[in-house]
């Protein structure tokens, strides 16, 4: 359990700086690409080398560390890091037949380049790590921070997640059947019942600590696991909620990671079936698309809702009224490809 004081997000939506989420930005070509700001805080000498994942990761983190905010460490989750650089380097290997190659793509392609660069820019010699466990990279980053804050009570940490769309990983995931084969739009993501979702990307960053004062909300608990079975998900959910909520009570909002892939629906239905019938259901993948660390966008959006007490209409998946009662708890469930699952409970 820990508190979140500040958040920052670069995503396909207008999320950076002063977020404006009421209008849903549309996808193009089955992709939701991040809206990148002008990176005035990144020295040009450093910026010129950065691929997109590093750029949006650093860019999203900057507002949280701008005022010389001291953090004791940097914890990043990313499944792939700079995938574009990785494949650019691969192209060089093939094109020049293992001849003389330029190293920048190689150095920038390592997933820890983001956390490393943040450490460098912040002169932060403390704990620095990159969790790369595919669809549970962000979740492991959160668990790490949770442990760090139990070990160092007065510390603050920068935690977040990044992943990018590159032409190459788009192709690999598309070949794998994870993106829709027909031309689709995020504006009606949940209407066609077909396989696959649409691709997304983004970076979400959080400033975390133990002190309640000045916080937006707290991350009450995080739980994640591997299974193919919707029954196991349901069972785990019941246990998770029983641990944190009085018997029979559901969280104020259920934020679902559903992504328009009909094969994933059974997992989300297992969750809605376990919550009180009138629990409003929100979705967020129409905003950020599907990617391994999309749950970090979900967590960011949940923090925004708790902070502003406003829910963008396009997020509502149920007609149940959200009434005028304050929103004090949001439960997020997400699955990546139906075998990695996570629960997060955020409370005011």
């Amino acid at each position: 359990m820990f508190y979140i004081y500040k958040t920052s997000c670069i995503s396909p939506q207008s999320s950076y700086g002063s977020p404006a989420l009421s209008e849903l930005v549309a996808s193009a070509g089955n992709k939701l690409m991040a809206q990148e700001p002008v990176y005035s805080g990144i020295p040009p000498g450093i910026l010129r080398r950065m691929g997109k994942a590093v750029r949006i990761g650093i860019g999203a983190a900057l507002p949280l560390i701008a005022d010389k905010q001291e953090t004791q460490g940097i914890i990043i989750g990313t499944a792939n890091g700079g995938m574009e650089d990785c494949i650019k380097f691969l192209n060089q290997i093939i094109e020049y037949d293992e001849g003389k190659l330029t190293p920048t793509n190689f150095v920038q392609s390592t997933p820890n380049a983001i956390a490393g660069q943040l450490g460098l820019m912040q002169s932060n010699k403390g704990y620095n790590i990159t969790h790369s466990n595919r669809g549970l990279s962000f979740e492991n980053a959160l668990m790490d921070v949770d442990m760090l804050l139990a070990e160092n009570k007065n510390a603050k940490y920068l935690v977040g997640a990044v992943d990018e769309i590159s032409a190459y990983n788009f192709r690999i995931e598309w070949l794998g059947g994870w993106y829709k084969s027909e031309d689709s739009s995020n504006l009606n993501l949940f209407e066609n019942e077909s396989d696959g979702s649409i691709a997304g990307e983004g970076a979400a960053m959080f400033l975390a600590g133990n002190e309640k004062q000045g916080s937006i909300c707290r991350l009450t608990d995080i739980h994640f696991f591997q299974t193919d079975s919707a029954g196991v998900v349901k069972e785990a959910l019941t246990k998770f909620l029983a641990k944190h909520l009085p018997s029979g009570k559901s969280p104020d909002l259920f934020m679902s990671g559903e992504n328009g892939d009909r094969r994933m629906q059974k997992y989300y239905e297992a969750c809605t079936g376990s919550l009180a019938a009138n629990t409003p259901v929100l979705s967020f993948k129409q905003m950020c698309g599907e990617y391994p660390t999309a749950s970090s966008f979900g967590a960011w959006a949940a923090c925004e809702i708790l902070r502003t007490q406003e829910i963008p209409m396009h997020m509502l998946r149920t007609s149940s009224s959200t009434s005028n009662t304050p929103i004090s708890s949001i439960f997020i469930y997400n699955t990546y490809k139906g075998n990695q699952h996570s629960f997060m409970l955020l409370e005011k």
Partner: protein, 87 residues
């Protein structure tokens, strides 16, 4: 190729190769140090420049120490290219 022409070609190549987005090729002075104070390039850039010399001018620098003598400023690079280019 005239030396002046080679210089301006090299400047363009350097800007493009190193993605020096905030610098115009014509702003690089011939005797401005590439590393440290001048353009502020670093050790990775020096490797990139050695690759550039290989790909564009067919020059193979194997010894990094020799690289350091060549990669001082535009004048030293152009001088070396004129003497050693194979394409």
């Amino acid at each position: 190729m005239e030396t002046a022409e080679l210089k301006s070609q090299l400047k363009k190549q350097i800007v493009e190769f190193l993605n020096l987005t905030t610098i115009k090729p014509e702003d690089i002075k011939d005797d401005e140090p590439l590393f440290g104070e001048g353009l502020g390039l670093d050790s990775i850039d020096s490797i990139e420049l050695i690759v550039l010399l290989g790909r564009e001018y067919g020059i193979d620098i194997k010894d990094p120490k020799e690289g350091r003598k060549v990669l001082v400023d535009i004048n030293t690079m152009v001088d070396y290219i004129e003497k050693n280019r194979t394409k």
